[in-house]
Subunit: 391 residues, 2 copies
Amino acid sequence: MHTAGSSETVDARFVGKLAGYFGFEEEKIRHLFEKKYLARNWGEHEHLFRFDKEISHIERGTLFYEKDDSFEMVLGFPKIRRAMVLYPTLEKQFEGLRSVVVEEKMNGYNVRVTGVNGEILAITRSGYICPYTTEKARGKLNPDFFNDYPDLVLYGEMVGPDNPYVPKKIYDVESVEFYIFDVRKKNTGDPLPAARRREILEKYGFLQVKSFGEIPLETAPGEIAKIIRNLGKIEHEGVVIKDPAMVLPSVKYTSSRSNCSDLKHAFKFYNESGRDYMLSRIVREGFQAVEWGESEAEFKKRCMQLGESILTPLRDSVQNVKKGQRLYDEVRIRVKDLKTAVEFEDYLKRLGVDSVFENPEPVGDEYRITIKKVNKSTNDKTEAIWKGELW
Amino acid sequence: MHTAGSSETVDARFVGKLAGYFGFEEEKIRHLFEKKYLARNWGEHEHLFRFDKEISHIERGTLFYEKDDSFEMVLGFPKIRRAMVLYPTLEKQFEGLRSVVVEEKMNGYNVRVTGVNGEILAITRSGYICPYTTEKARGKLNPDFFNDYPDLVLYGEMVGPDNPYVPKKIYDVESVEFYIFDVRKKNTGDPLPAARRREILEKYGFLQVKSFGEIPLETAPGEIAKIIRNLGKIEHEGVVIKDPAMVLPSVKYTSSRSNCSDLKHAFKFYNESGRDYMLSRIVREGFQAVEWGESEAEFKKRCMQLGESILTPLRDSVQNVKKGQRLYDEVRIRVKDLKTAVEFEDYLKRLGVDSVFENPEPVGDEYRITIKKVNKSTNDKTEAIWKGELW
């Protein structure tokens, strides 16, 4: 995927400045550029550098750029680890707290939005500037926020059907919306406490992920189990459990529905999906079955759901390739300006994503464009097997 | 696993001799010993060297030793690749043949048996001399064969319930038996043609894997599908399809039952089973569902079987650890001489297998011993999760 970025010609003076800023040896800086662990964005954003790999506790996707006589940094998304069972995990992970904040974990794609030298930019999880998401952010977010708080970064989830990465119709979103779950300071990555975050965001009329409130730590496992069952029923993903002060690391917990939905997508493209990704989602089902003390009938239902989530997309992919079709992921975007679509097409190309953009259809004062993303590896593997190759 | 083997002190003269024999640089020979890709057996077998890795087309598990003024080599098991679908795979892989030989693929553990300097030895897939299997081979195989054919090696499957590696009760075997599927020459690894192999083995009264006969290539896919369905019904694993002359490489094809049975074992010990091993067995189900043109009802049944094969062992493991039990694989052996059991215990210890041997129970003029093999990684991971650790 990450084949993008212009070949790096970084002068010695700049290497020295970076080494000083990060406290690395100059040799290490050069090595990071050579390996493309450190790379530039391109085009009008080529002054924005990104870490393509976690380096010495700097999260992958961290973005930085020159500012005054130094640098300014937008830190990557902190990893949120997963509770496999609620009890005793919450008790252990949030030891010493009286209560935790429970918020919905939405299923879309992660984006940071912030002002960079006075310009609002949408930065993907990997640290790219996505032109589509940037158009959306600029259209949706009150620009006063970025003037009032130039040192803050919005961390959120872009959800809805007009979504080129993770399209979902399960939310009450007509096209695509940006739901914020975190606000952090530039350079340090320090988060705002949950209540302060909600207060500021409300003032600017920003959408925020749903809060299930502050729940006493003692009763949290039972209450969250109930929340998860209800979220599962409406096909929502799960929750993130947070220290109200945002000092201890957050923990996530997801519904069986979301595991199965991940598996459905993963097995459609069985040859490129990560093995660990698939396995971890299967293993969660085993833990949840025990944690929830299921009856045999409920357990059989869970087995059937798991089996179908795996085999149905797998069979369909195998069948479609047999019929001579290509396997692809169909997504769509909706833009005000067709120029954004052209930029987005170029952007996907630079990322090495094999995609076909269909003709724009007018929708109100906007254009909807369907995109077919081809998954070459599963296509080729399946086709080879139908031509008599061995596994 | 492969932590065994005494630390290597190989003198320069010997390195030179090996380099000459294999056509490698001396530096490479030293490197192979350092990395333990080339290692000795231990104790009374320390003159037997094994390749612990495939090196320049020499199969992993290949064994060799000094003989006269050179070396003699027992080649490893050739990899048998898998047909995901029978048509057009057989046509392509066996192009130019009029027919193929179809033989049962049994579910046990692979062993080579041959005479090494006049002594009958059982060599495992990895090239170790297994004391238990050696006792069995000596008790079961007519020694005349090894005198008459000192240059031949028997390649077979040890199956039955008294089996410390892959115990199965699905065959008509009371304790354990050695079924031969291949006979090859020392040093070159050249196989005997199928008919010649059967003829020789019959003469010595050796057990052989079941043959389904020679089948015209044209009708093979349909006929093998029938064979596989019948084998599946009695929980047998599958078939190996061979060039009668044994010139083209053999191809295997297995039943859904065998995939599910592999998955059951793999998910019991979810944290140590290979990701690729698990995934490949799941993917086969997708191909077979399409290949066999299943009805929706049959497909639902396959989904349920898959789901249960994965979730039942997973749930049981998670549940058992929650109750404070340790997860283990229970197997048993049956020996004439208790000294063999002691040697086998020492052997497993040298291989790094964590196992507990229970007290021997007399069975006729033999002793049965139950062995509990502990799978530490899945135990520890599951226990940690129940104590509140994150994934």
